[in-house]
Symmetry: none
Subunit: 154 residues, 2 copies
DNA sequence: AATCATCCCATGTTATCCCAAGGTATCCCG
DNA sequence: CGGGATACCTTGGGATAACATGGGATGATT
C-alpha cells in the first residue's frame, strides 16, 4: 500500500483554491475515491485528510457501538459531524472551506504533511511548533537517550 | 455507500421553511425515499432525520426484541410512533413543525449535522455546547488524551 | 370566509467547470 | 557530463450551472 509522505507547502489563491500535492493525489486516485475526505484532527488544530483508508478507519471506530447508543453518537458527532468531503476539480485542486480556516488558523498559506495512511493540513507557523514537539516526544518514545553531542558540521 | 457528514447552518424563512443542505438531499434521493423521516433524538434536545437508511437502522435496533414484548413496544413507540415524515417541496425545502421547535429550541436558525446513516437537527447555540461535550467523550473513548495546548494563530 | 399548506416562479449569490499559460522537474540525446 | 526538449505540475481568470432564498398564487381544510 502506498503511503502519504513528506511535507508540502502551498499557497492558496484568491478564490480559496489550492492544489493537492501531486504525490498525494496519485494515492487518492489509486484508492478509486472521488473527492477528499477531511475531518478535524482529534488532538491538534489541524485537519486529517485522506481517501477510503481514512473513512474505513472511522467506520471501524464507530461500528463497534450500537447505532443509538451514547458512545456511537459521541464518536459520530466528532468524527463525521466535523468531517467533510471536498470535491477535487479537473486540475487537482480543492477549495479550502471556512471551517478548516477556523480550526487551523490557515490564511493564504498551507502545509500538507503526510503521516502514512492519511495526511494533515496545517497553518505553516502552527506546524513549525508542532514539529518540534513531535520530535521531542518521538525521541522519548524510541527510548533514545540523546546520546551525544552530534551536531552538523559548522 | 454514501453518508451524511459535515455541519450546515441555515436560516429559516418567515414561512417556517428551510432548505435541506444539497449534499444531504442528494443522499435522500439516492435512497429512493420521498420525504424526510424525523424523530426526537433519544438523549439530546435534537431531532434525528433521514431516509430509508435511518428506518433500517431503527428496525435493526428494535429487531433484537420479541415483537410482542413490552420492550419492543416501548422502543417502537418511541422511535417509530413518535416519528414524523416531512414533505420536501420542489426546491428541496421542509417546513419545520412546531414539535421540532419545542424539543430543540430552534428559532429562526438551524444546524444540520451529519452522523453517517442519519443526520441531526439542532439549535445552533445548543449544538455548540453539545459538540464540545461529544469531543471530550470521544477523546476518552479513543483512549488518549490531548497532549498539546497549541492553538491556531489569531 | 379565513387560514394554512403546497406549488410555482424569480433573483442574488456562491460554487463548479472549463480553458489557457507560465514555470519546473524530468528525460533523452549529444 | 552537459544541454535541450518534453511533459507534468501549478496557477490564474472567466463562463456557466447549481444552490439558497424570497415572494406571490393556487387549492385544501376548518
Amino acid at each position: 500500500m502506498q503511503r502519504f509522505l513528506g511535507r508540502h507547502a502551498k499557497r492558496i489563491d484568491s478564490k480559496g483554491r489550492v492544489s493537492i500535492p501531486a504525490p498525494f493525489r496519485a494515492i487518492l486516485v489509486a484508492d478509486a475515491f472521488e473527492g477528499l475526505f477531511c475531518v478535524r484532527s482529534l488532538f491538534h488544530p489541524a485537519v486529517d485528510a485522506g481517501g477510503k483508508a481514512l473513512i474505513d478507519a472511522i467506520d471501524t471506530a464507530i461500528g463497534g457501538y450500537d447505532a443509538f447508543s451514547p458512545d456511537h453518537l459521541d464518536l459520530a458527532t466528532t468524527l463525521l459531524g466535523a468531517g467533510d468531503t471536498l470535491t477535487i476539480d479537473g486540475e487537482g485542486r480543492i477549495v479550502v472551506p471556512d471551517w478548516i480556516r477556523e480550526t487551523t488558523g490557515i490564511g493564504d498559506e498551507i502545509v500538507f504533511v503526510g503521516i502514512g495512511t492519511r495526511f494533515q493540513i496545517w497553518a505553516p507557523d502552527v506546524f513549525t511548533r508542532r514539529e518540534a514537539e513531535a520530535r521531542g516526544r518521538a525521541l522519548q518514545l524510541m527510548g533514545t537517550r540523546a546520546s551525544s553531542k552530534m551536531e552538523p558540521a559548522p
